[in-house]
């Protein structure tokens, strides 16, 4: 049967960073755009994020990091997804991430990084164009 279910999205805050304004705005904008959105809340370890993503059967995982720990947390999460055989979950992110760091993150399996000032519409359009429900 054709899978016509809605795209499910996990918005996650990994590490100790408490800046959650952006994550919450993106979660709400995606929800208002008709997606099923789960928001993790704060202070999760990479293991907890990956576990939640798998349990919640999400298609895409959006991470917000403003603590400077992005070069550790993103690769750790993509590595764990691969280890769990769930690397068909697309990972994207945003936060205070210097432009020079973006190519390294993309090489580590992150599909897109949105910088400060990105309109929510741009993120919604990106999800629309890039994310299809996974085969579960």
């Amino acid at each position: 049967m054709e899978d016509d279910r809605r795209v499910r999205i996990l918005i996650g805050k990994a590490g100790l960073d408490g800046h959650d304004r952006g994550a919450k705005i993106v979660a709400r904008a995606l929800r208002d755009a008709g997606y099923e959105v789960v928001y993790t809340g704060l202070h999760l370890t990479p293991e907890m994020i990956v576990e939640t993503a798998i349990q919640e059967d999400v298609d895409v995982l959006g991470l917000s990091i403003l603590s400077g720990a992005h070069n550790y947390l993103f690769p750790e999460i993509t590595r764990l997804l691969k280890e769990m055989g769930a690397d068909d979950i697309v990972v994207f992110g945003g936060g205070i991430i210097p432009r020079d760091d973006i190519p390294g993150l993309i090489n580590n399996g992150v599909k897109a990084i949105f910088q400060p000032g990105t309109p929510t519409g741009e993120i919604i359009d990106w999800v629309k164009d890039n994310i299809k429900p996974r085969d579960l």
Partner: protein, 555 residues
């Protein structure tokens, strides 16, 4: 009186006539609201202040209700303290930046700690991975605090420390550093942020649930009121509330509500309000909307004076004074065309000064990209020096006082903030309101509404949704050495090897016992850090005795 009434009637008539003429030329796309969405009249007149009373509502600087400033001579007695927030990497890195800033003419220190320190984890903890020294300086034991303040006499500087759930531990370390320098505690001047209520509302770094967290805050206030009399044990902070997306009114209201919460808890503990009231201090944000911000500071002073005197029973005028630090709005800075941020910071800093702040941090232009470079920090500090020493705005105290619009905005911000306080009172006070998610949800709604107004172009951010450029040239940023974590962990291992293990275990047991019995924890923690018990070990006691708080994730 009759004469005044006739005058107002006359002004009202003429204003109606002006409005007709104005409407003919008014453009439809002019947005006459503040950044917080507050309506601004196209022209203010004495009609907006009908019923006001100069002596009652404004009075004189240094006198109740302090609308025009808390000191008689304001900046003519002493310019505000220029206090740039700094901290990154190892304690030695930050110590170097501190000395650089002092050489540049900065007058107070302000310490930023990294995330593990803020959350109660040592640098070698699993949860500290990738975060050591990144968003601030890494401190795990007294050895780090000794290195951080090496060569800086603690009786010569005032030090502000942005630290909350572990404030009691960091302050204990600071007191021991002073002791080792031979500086008496009653000579120490500075501030610990130590405001846990706003953590649950906005900044979101915590260990335990709200009630035990506030109990620890009160421990610090009580201890300082007895032994560190010049210290400001808590800085009641609206800054992070605003950064989380609140309006100016919500920032003011939730901050004052937090203040009421602490005062009530201290009174419950058995303290007299005038024992600690004069040492309470505040910390506000300064956003882009210049006039709204000036009005917010003025409204804050009048509100707090009124609440402390009439509601909380303070009799000492020093308890009525709202002393505040201000910081320009990090959330207003743009990653696009970063040089423009210098202009934003200037406007905001000017608002803080005309609002009558006691100290100020100006953000650096590059802070949406990384921690600031030395050059960016210097420009930010120079911005304050130009305002204070060059521009002439300090010549007259509260120079915008008496402006019809400023007084009208001051009145309206105060009234709307009082409405919020009433709603919080009805919920049973600020801790209950936080338990119910009330301030958190109000802020999330405002933040989302503001984003929508940006997305649909109602509100303009230059370089982001108007006057944009393609392909910007890369901007130099500060990189934190990845070696920091390794060298910090080596240092901690060395500290643990050398210290008296048995003494540390004994101290941790004493803290556990005191935590269970409800005693003031401060004296036990001072003894423990003196023997190099670590921040993580003491935080583990909090986690074990008081439990860990989980985020209800309202959005």
């Amino acid at each position: 009186m009759e004469n005044d009434k006739r005058k107002i009637t006359k002004v009202r008539e003429e204003k109606a006539a002006w409005e007709e003429r104005y409407k003919d030329f008014q453009k439809v796309d002019v947005d006459l609201t503040t950044v917080s969405g507050m309506e601004v009249p196209p022209l203010s007149t004495p009609c907006d202040l009908d019923g006001s009373n100069y002596l009652r509502d404004l009075g004189f600087p240094g006198s109740y209700p302090f609308t025009r400033g808390i000191y008689d001579s304001m900046y003519h007695g002493k310019l505000w303290t220029m206090r740039q927030f700094a901290g990154f990497g190892t304690p030695r890195d930050t110590n170097k930046r501190f000395k650089f800033l002092l050489e540049q003419g900065q007058t107070g220190l302000s310490t930023a700690f990294d995330m593990p320190t803020l959350m109660g984890y040592d640098c070698d903890h699993e949860r500290a991975k990738g975060e050591v020294g990144k968003e601030g300086v890494s401190v795990s034991s007294l050895a780090d605090m000794e290195a951080l303040f090496d060569g800086i006499s603690l009786d010569k500087v005032s030090t502000s420390m942005t630290i909350n759930c572990t404030a009691i531990i960091i302050l204990a370390m600071y007191l021991v550093v002073a002791e080792k320098q031979g500086v008496r505690w009653d000579r120490l001047d500075g501030t610990t942020q130590n405001d846990m209520l706003k953590e649950f509302i906005a900044q979101r770094e915590w260990i335990c649930p709200p009630r035990p967290s506030v109990k620890i805050v009160v421990d610090v206030i009580e201890f300082c009121s007895k032994y560190v009399p010049k210290w400001h044990p808590v800085s009641i902070s609206g800054y992070h509330i605003r950064e989380a997306g609140s309006t100016a009114v919500q920032e003011l209201a939730f901050t004052v509500a937090d203040g009421i919460g602490y005062v009530r808890e201290c009174i419950e503990r058995g303290l007299q309000v005038d024992e600690f009231g004069p040492n309470l201090s505040f910390f506000f944000n300064v956003h882009n909307d210049f006039l709204e911000e000036v009005a917010k500071f003025r409204a804050a002073r009048r509100m707090w004076a009124n609440i402390m005197r009439d509601r909380l029973g303070a009799e000492n005028p020093k308890s009525w004074m709202l002393k505040t630090h201000a910081q320009t709005a990090g959330c207003s800075l743009t990653a696009q065309q970063p040089l423009n941020n210098i202009v934003r910071v200037t406007i905001q800093a000017l608002a803080a000064v005309l609002g009558g702040t006691q100290s100020l941090h100006t953000n650096s232009m590059d802070e949406t990209l990384s921690l600031p470079t030395e050059e960016a920090v210097t420009v930010a500090l120079r911005t304050q020096q130009i305002i204070g020493e060059e521009s002439g705005v300090i010549n007259s105290i509260d120079p915008l006082g008496g402006s019809y619009l400023i007084e009208d905005l001051t009145n309206r911000i105060e009234t709307e903030a009082h409405d919020y306080i009433r709603r919080i009172d009805e919920l049973g006070g600020i801790i209950e309101a936080i338990d119910k998610g009330f301030p958190q949800k109000e802020i999330a709604d405002s933040s989302y509404r503001y984003q929508q107004r940006l997305d649909n172009g109602d509100k303009v951010i230059v370089g982001v949704n108007r006057h944009t450029v393609e392909d910007e040239t890369p901007f130099p940023t500060l990189r934190i050495d990845e070696e920091v974590a390794g060298s910090q962990m080596d240092g901690l291992r060395e500290v643990k090897r050398r210290r008296n293990k048995r003494a540390v275990q004994q101290h941790l047991k004493s803290i556990t016992k005191a935590a269970k019995s409800g005693e003031n924890l401060m004296p036990y923690i001072i003894d423990a850090v003196r023997d190099y018990a670590t921040l993580g070990e003491i935080s583990d006691v909090f986690r074990e005795v008081f439990g860990i708080y989980r985020d209800p994730a309202y959005y």
